[in-house]
């Protein structure tokens, strides 16, 4: 009951957040976003034809009316059609989000998993060479541009100049084997870059935890390092770890990775969103923004519940 009440309260407080996010982003789109009109008119348009296109796009309506239409679309889940392709926005998202999630999830999971493990390892050897080596490697990973990493992995593993083990690009996935084939190089590139950031973050969290009194006490009682780190320290680090992981999820699921999807020719939501930004395809942008905001509220709720799960002292109030 307490959980239900808390959830309802959290959802209710999330509504202003969604409205705020959608309003701000909508105003940004209207006043600073690209004007689609001149991409849709022909080579030699008349003023009348330009006015017709503006009317078709709804640009001739007052901003308040357009925003209310936006909210109505969200409530009715009728997200309209893409201004560029004419495809239903809901169909675009339904087609591309699973692809982006399938591409991003292995890298996301492995990047965080190895980040935690390396963070534990570095924290255990704090100040000595394994720690220094891992931190130096993390700094290198963080310093190299994601773009360079992608191109390097692509050339090394996929091209005729390198090992030529994987497809250069594309997404012809009909089986698990295909999936592994197409997702490996994007995953390796993602993990390579994410690992640096994750390892540094998790190491600092774990190192801070090792200074707590209960750790000193456990050591004094002769608790072995393995159980100490895995059973006590890691468990007590779970709140910041959960926070970092959970709040990344909306962006992994919805935003995808523009660079990965562009360079590997993967028809995911990241590429669709980027194209929508640069071409001013407002129906898609509005949907992505709203979906991200809703997902953030959901993740926030889920995160709070998980806090309680990992640490019963956390109160759902």
């Amino acid at each position: 009951m307490e959980l239900l009440q808390y959830s309802l309260r959290k959802i209710a407080t999330g509504i202003p957040l969604v409205i705020g996010v959608t309003l701000i982003s909508f105003l940004l789109m209207v006043y600073f976003g690209p004007d689609k009109t001149y991409e849709l008119v022909g080579k030699n348009p008349t003023a009348e034809q330009i006015a017709e296109v503006r009317a078709e796009l709804g640009y001739d309506q007052p901003v308040a009316v357009r925003y209310l239409d936006y909210l109505r679309e969200l409530v009715t889940l009728d997200l309209g059609f893409s201004d560029s392709t004419g495809e239903r926005v809901s169909a675009i998202l339904a087609r591309t989000i699973p692809i982006s999630a399938a591409v991003a999830l292995p890298g996301f999971i492995l990047g965080n998993l190895f980040g935690v493990l390396l963070g534990l390892f570095a924290a255990f050897y704090r100040g000595v060479w394994p720690d220094k080596f891992i931190m130096a490697a993390a700094a290198i990973g963080m310093s190299i541009s994601f773009l360079i990493v992608i191109i390097a992995f692509q050339i090394l593993l996929s091209s005729s100049y390198g090992l030529n083990l994987f497809p250069v690009r594309g997404w012809d996935v009909h089986s698990i084997g295909d999936y592994v084939l197409y997702v490996t190089v994007p995953t390796l590139a993602t993990v390579f870059v994410a690992l640096g950031y994750n390892t540094r973050f998790y190491r600092s969290v774990i190192v801070e935890e090792t200074t707590r009194d209960y750790v000193r006490t456990a050591r004094a009682f002769g608790m072995p390092a393995g159980p100490l780190y895995y059973k006590l320290i890691l468990k007590n680090c779970m709140i910041p770890i959960i926070t970092r992981i959970m709040f990344s999820i909306p962006f992994v699921v919805i935003s995808g990775s523009l660079l990965i999807e562009s360079y590997f020719g993967i028809p995911g939501v990241g590429k669709v969103t980027y194209d929508a930004i640069v071409t001013g395809d407002q129906p898609i942008l509005k949907a992505v923004v709203a979906l991200t905001a809703v997902l953030l509220v959901a993740v926030q709720l889920l995160t709070d519940i998980m806090y309680r799960w990992v640490d019963p002292r956390v109160a759902l109030k």
Binding site: V41, T46, G170, S262, I266
Partner: protein, 607 residues
């Protein structure tokens, strides 16, 4: 770390090979090429880009098409049974359609069976450009030309009551009545805009029609997303044996491709046609050189020096020559910068004296522009610099025209400015608009450096960047910038298509973004517009071109050279120009024993 390494190694070992043939494609002849951009819509009414046009003219039928190999470009009947009958006054075109052509099977039709294409479909397809709800982009081709279209639109775009100027006389006969002779009409009937669509499919798919082509062309689209489009031959299309002579085959320049092998054979020679949209040139080149994914691509500009052994003539470096064919093609279009003549600082001015000084300023800036270095810096010295706006690709091009307007003369430019009383203090600020990006910035920096050399203060050449081309285009269309730096791709091989860019009534927001308004030029344009190709028309075109040069309206121009490479196992003579995708129905894959051998899907030997 070790675990990560082991996992990586396990994945690599587990995968074993570079994808291998897709089981679905086993035994199929697959032709696969790449494009550097993707179409946003495959609705012919919205096929404004080259990427869309390439697919549209293969998924749909047009009344006319371009001969595969003829250069200069030549039209031939496609869905039309023959070239049209034209009335003596040039006002009525009668086109007979080939009977028996059918749209592909699709749920949009009763029982899912495609019906026959008839003349009223052509009428419907063109009328869609005058229906605002379609968001059409091709109305400019026929507005003010075909009788009754504007009135039809004003009366509410009722497709059941077509205008008199566009009439299906019977099932296979189409009459087009013009308000004035329009010699370019036939070219417009070969463009993707005029592709024939069935009304049932438009009604059935509504806004999503642009994603689900239902045509009667040589191919049918089987899948389409932002990364790739897959087509397969429409087996019911009017395939017939290839007559290379009829297609304009020139053994002297085209025999190296090996396409003589398809003469007399009946296409289609492929079972699948795939086009991958790869915007990044490095990824595109990697995919191409790998060989089992892409068989035809352009050469990325950053790799030209590495890939080519010589630029004139274009020849591949030995490393590539053994594996690839290459062809270079001057683009049907050009890049240029036009002054906004409505801007009083640079163009027309109420005070005739100031207007004359502005002309001197424009002429001096044109003289300060260095086309040779522009060509060398950005087009690998492969572009063709020419004076005026009639590019080399059209028959009206004048090779003997003086090159003064495209030859840099800094001392002369300085002298002109001084004589007209222009000084660093009174020169107007030039706002240089461009889309954000490194290359655009480089264009600007180079332009500013050249202008500084003729005496323009650095701070008076100001960059204004826009997030998208649409935003920049809006500024041009609304005459808010003094200089329009653009590229123009010809819609048809006729200089009228570029000369109309400076025709007064086409002023902004129309295609004459420079707002050039010269009554004498307009009269000549109107005279030439109704003439069939002839020495007289060429003379008028060239006179108009000279007027633009004399009035210093634009810094122009350069036609870029496109280089295409393809694997030797592919038999074709591609063109990315006006003829666009008309080469695709003729593409063949060569196996060891002949073009029709069924090979592994697109798997080529690259030793």
């Amino acid at each position: 770390m070790r675990f990560l390494f082991l996992l990586t190694a396990a994945l690599l070992i587990g995968c074993g090979s570079n994808g291998g043939p897709d089981p679905e494609l086993a035994g199929l002849r697959v032709y696969h090429h790449s494009a550097d951009g993707a179409p946003t819509s495959l609705d012919p009414a919205q096929s404004a880009t080259a990427y869309a046009n390439l697919v549209v003219i293969n998924a749909y039928d047009t009344l006319y098409s371009y001969k595969y190999l003829a250069r200069p470009y030549e039209l031939k009947p496609n869905l039309a049974a023959a070239m049209p009958e034209i009335s003596d006054d040039g006002l009525v075109y009668t086109v007979q359609l080939k009977p028996g052509t059918r749209f592909i099977d699709d749920p949009a039709f009763p029982d899912g069976k495609g019906r026959e294409v008839v003349a009223s479909d052509v009428v419907y397809s063109i009328l869609r450009h005058f229906d605002p709800t379609v968001r059409p982009q091709g109305a400019w081709l026929w507005q003010g030309r075909v009788a009754g279209l504007e009135e039809w639109k004003a009366a509410g775009s009722d497709y059941d009551r077509p205008p008199d100027g566009l009439r299906a006389v019977d099932r296979y006969t189409l009459d087009i009545r013009l308000e004035a002779p329009y010699p370019q009409l036939l070219y417009t009937l070969a463009m993707g805009y005029s592709a024939v669509v069935p009304r049932e499919a438009v009604d059935y798919y509504g806004r999503e029609f642009g994603l689900r082509p239902v045509g009667s062309g040589p191919f049918r689209v089987t899948s389409y997303d932002t990364a790739r489009i897959v087509l397969e031959p429409n087996r019911n299309w009017r395939w017939r044996p290839v007559d290379l002579a009829e297609e304009g085959y020139d053994p002297d320049t085209q025999a190296f491709t090996g396409i003589a092998a398809i003469d007399g054979q009946t296409p289609p020679f492929v079972d699948r046609l795939m086009i991958s949209f790869i915007t990044d040139s490095a990824a595109r080149w990697n995919s191409f050189t790998k060989g089992n994914e892409i068989q035809y691509a352009g050469v990325p500009v950053e790799l030209v020096d590495r890939v080519l052994a010589s630029k004139n003539p274009v020849r591949l470096a030995p490393k590539y020559e053994a594996r690839y064919q290459v062809v270079s093609d001057i683009e049907a279009g050009f890049v240029y910068s036009a002054f906004n003549m409505a801007d009083e600082d640079f163009g027309y001015h109420p005070d005739p004296e100031q207007q004359a000084r502005n002309r001197v300023l424009r002429c001096a800036m044109i003289r300060g522009f260095d086309w040779r270095r522009r060509n060398d810096s950005f087009y690998f010295d492969l572009g063709v610099v020419f004076p005026g706006v009639i590019p080399p690709v059209v028959p009206e091009f004048d090779p003997d025209l003086s090159l003064d307007s495209v030859t840099r003369d800094v001392a002369g430019a300085k002298r002109m400015l001084a004589e007209a009383g222009w000084t660093a203090d009174n020169l107007p600020t030039m706002t240089y608009g461009s889309v954000g990006g490194v290359r655009s910035r480089q264009f600007y920096e180079q332009f500013r450096a050249w202008m500084m050399e003729i005496g323009y203060p650095r701070e008076k050449i100001v960059l204004k960047q826009f997030a998208t081309f649409g935003d920049l285009n809006k500024q041009w269309r609304e005459s808010r910038l003094p200089l329009i730096s653009a590229g123009w791709g010809l819609d048809y091989p006729d200089a009228e298509n570029t000369l109309q860019l400076f025709y007064g009534p086409n002023g902004a927001p129309g295609s004459n973004s420079s707002n050039y308004n010269n009554p004498e030029y307009d009269v000549l344009y109107e005279q030439a517009a109704v003439l069939l190709p002839s020495p007289e028309r060429t003379r008028i075109y060239r006179r108009m071109n000279q007027m633009l040069i004399d009035d210093c309206v634009a810094v122009t121009g350069l036609s870029r050279t496109r280089i295409a490479v393809w694997h030797r196992e592919v038999l074709m003579y591609p063109s990315a120009n006006i003829v666009g995708g008309f080469f695709l129905p003729f593409v063949a894959l060569a196996g060891d024993n002949g073009i029709l051998e069924r090979a592994e899907p697109a798997r080529l030997t690259l030793n």
